[in-house]
């Protein structure tokens, strides 16, 4: 059985956060603060995006002493296309409004 990702409001918020600076690497806590999605919801979504091949991940390379390396994330090319499509579709259904317009 394939992995399915439900386009919930939390998923769309995370996708929007990752699309804000597409080439930039994000870390979990920053996404959490940006989207207000709690860690218990954020990481399962990131894990599914990773399994679907829409998320690039890597461990932080230069780490100050005494601190563990952090995991970094950004959308792949396919992931970005899919994320744009999902956000557009959600906007058309009026299920989702971009953060800028909400503000």
């Amino acid at each position: 059985m394939g992995i399915r990702l439900r386009s919930s409001r939390q998923t769309l918020a995370i996708l929007e956060a990752l699309l804000a600076c597409p080439g930039h690497w994000h870390h979990g806590y920053a996404i959490c603060r940006q989207t207000s999605v709690p860690s218990g919801t954020l990481y399962p979504i990131l894990m599914r995006l990773d399994k679907l091949g829409w998320l690039d991940t890597k461990w932080e390379e230069s780490v100050p002493q005494g601190r563990p390396p952090r995991h970094l994330y950004r959308l792949t090319g396919n992931g970005r296309e899919w994320a744009h499509e999902e956000l557009r579709s959600a906007q058309q259904r009026e299920f989702w409004k971009p953060a800028a317009s909400q503000a």
Binding site: Y29, C32, S39, G40, L46, R67, P68, H71
Partner: protein, 556 residues
């Protein structure tokens, strides 16, 4: 490190995530590390706690998902292929998944949890040692007594005092029960299976004699206390003649006095029906009581001493003969009529078949002598009446003999066949339970490493892991189905009001066929040893196979 990071909240968040990471499933552990690494970026203690809580939720989801994936694999397999030894081939595994096996075992547990199944298992288990009972029965009775003492439940206390082996506690329970309900004084009449009176003669019996004055049975029990040691002493030396047995007790005036009062008493009540009513009442109130307990309750019921009754009957008959020879025909007639009257009371008011037989036998002896006496006197009318009475007695004795042989050969064979199937299904269920437990533990705990020279044994264990749980379920369902006629017997026994009918139903038409060795209905007290031996032999065989496999492995 900032001071806020040393706060309790931060330390709690950190330590809970570290603990979760230690047990995190391998396949998603990196995500746990990713989440934990972010904790150092969080400044506010409350946010750190929230973050850690999210981490614990993620850990729960990962663990549940890991467990589900593990359940879908066959018994003995691991999720990670890296568990294989270097250079070893993939292990031989059962075909069925853990989920299937767990579902089968759960279904078996549900079947076993049904009250009908528990009754079947308890009864069949009790039959395996001839209904002599197990330690668990004794513990159950002691718990029952403890509860009854707290609740001042006189009847349950009386029941427990009857079934418990002779002890200080049993006497205490009996005294407590009688103190709560004086009508239960008859329990002092019951004895242990070996025939020795359970009560303290000076106390319990005295109370019984005092409270049931017009009943012959307490007097007979008092006489038994005098006669029994004398009979034992005689029997221990040689096989005594009838004259020796009679002389052993008829010289004792106390014994004569008890027997005289017993023979003159207007009433005969052996308390058997009261005993059964009490047993039935407690059994209906506590249906979990095993068949052993119920049987033991019936077995401990004290019956009057046949030898003493026969001896005193003979003593009176001989006295009558002497009176007749001395020309005192009226005295002879009175003595013989006293014997006949007692026999009549015993056969008509007694509640056990045994009492009917003994009473009729006494009446037969006395009436024969009466007929002879009347014939000697030339009183044909009374001699004819005595002859008629003898015919009635003979007919009743014939009727009783037939009632002991209710089952024809075909019915007896059918009972034996049914008992065989019940025992077979129970024995197979035990065997399959052992096989299932052994195979599942051996595979899960990896007693049998893959890639070794015990491939054949592993094959056998995998087949057992695949089929034994299913066979166990079928065995349990089979036992439940086959036990239905016995369950019906137990159900109907619970509603019987006559002790004699209950005795017949439970013993000769029912549960003793289970306990008898195969086809030996005429020896109902023979406990089953066959299935115990059969199970032990198969367990020994399984152990032999395992040890042999282990030794071969070590040698290799």
């Amino acid at each position: 490190m900032p001071a806020s990071r040393q706060s309790l909240s931060f330390r709690l968040a950190h330590s809970s995530l570290q603990l979760a990471l230690r047990h995190w499933p391998d396949e998603s552990r990196q995500w746990g590390h990713a989440l934990a690494a972010e904790l150092d970026e969080i400044e506010k203690p409350f946010e750190a706690l929230q973050w850690a809580l999210g981490g614990l939720m993620l850990f729960s989801r990962a663990s549940a998902s890991h467990f589900l994936a593990w359940l879908k694999l066959p018994v003995g397999s691991r999720l990670s292929p890296t568990s294989l030894l270097p250079g070893s081939s993939s292990p031989i595994l059962p075909k069925r998944s853990r989920l299937f096996t767990a579902a089968i075992l759960l279904s078996t547990a549900v079947v076993l949890f049904l009250p009908q199944s528990r009754e079947a298992i308890s009864t069949v288990r009790a039959s395996w040692n001839g209904y002599r009972g197990y330690d668990s029965d004794l513990r159950g009775l002691q718990n029952l007594a403890a509860r009854a003492e707290r609740e001042n439940d006189a009847r349950t206390l009386a029941f427990v005092s009857l079934v418990l082996p002779h002890s200080e506690r049993a006497t205490t329970f009996a005294n407590h029960a009688v103190a709560l309900d004086p009508a239960l004084v008859w329990i002092y009449a019951s004895s242990r299976v070996d025939g020795r009176p359970e009560f303290e003669p000076k106390e319990g019996l005295a109370r019984l004699l005092e409270s049931d004055r017009d009943n012959a049975v307490p007097e007979l029990l008092a006489a038994r206390i005098i006669s029994e040691p004398r009979y034992y002493a005689l029997i221990s030396h040689h096989t005594p003649s009838d004259q020796e047995i009679e002389a052993a007790v008829t010289t004792d005036q106390a014994w004569i006095a008890h027997m005289d009062r017993a023979f003159r008493a207007p009433r005969y009540d052996g308390y058997f029906d009261r005993h059964w009513q009490l047993t039935r009442e407690v059994w209906n109130h506590h249906p979990e009581l095993s068949a052993s307990v119920i049987f033991n309750s019936l077995w401990v019921h004290s019956l009057p001493d046949v030898l003493s009754i026969r001896n005193y009957g003979n003593y009176l008959v001989h006295s009558a003969q002497r009176a007749s020879d001395g020309g005192h025909a009226a005295e002879a007639e009175t003595l013989l009529k006293r014997v006949d009257d007692f026999g009549r009371r015993m056969s008509e008011q007694g509640q056990a078949d045994f009492e009917h037989v003994v009473g009729l036998s006494l009446s037969h002896q006395a009436t024969t002598q009466l007929r002879n006496l009347y014939q000697t006197q030339g009183n044909e009318h009374k001699a004819q009446q005595a002859e008629q009475r003898l015919k009635v007695i003979d007919a009743r004795i014939d009727g009783l003999v037939h009632s002991f042989q209710r089952l024809g050969p075909a019915q007896a064979r059918a009972f034996d066949r049914r008992a065989l199937f019940v025992q077979l299904s129970a024995a197979l269920a035990v065997l399959f339970a052992i096989a299932a437990a052994f195979s599942l533990f051996a595979l899960e705990l990896r007693f049998l490493k893959p890639g070794r020279r015990i491939t054949q044994l592993r094959h056998a264990v995998c087949i057992a892991a695949d089929w034994a749980p299913l066979a166990l379920l079928l065995g349990c369902v089979g036992l439940l189905w086959l036990f239905q006629p016995y369950a019906q017997i137990l159900r109907s026994a619970r509603s019987l009001t006559s002790a004699s009918a209950a005795w017949h139903s439970l013993h000769f038409e029912g549960l003793f066929t289970l306990s008898s060795t195969l086809g030996a209905l005429e020896q109902p007290f023979t406990p089953v040893r066959f299935w115990q031996s059969f199970i032990c032999a198969l367990v020994a065989l399984a152990l032999f196979v395992v040890v042999r496999g282990f030794l071969r492995y070590k040698l290799a």
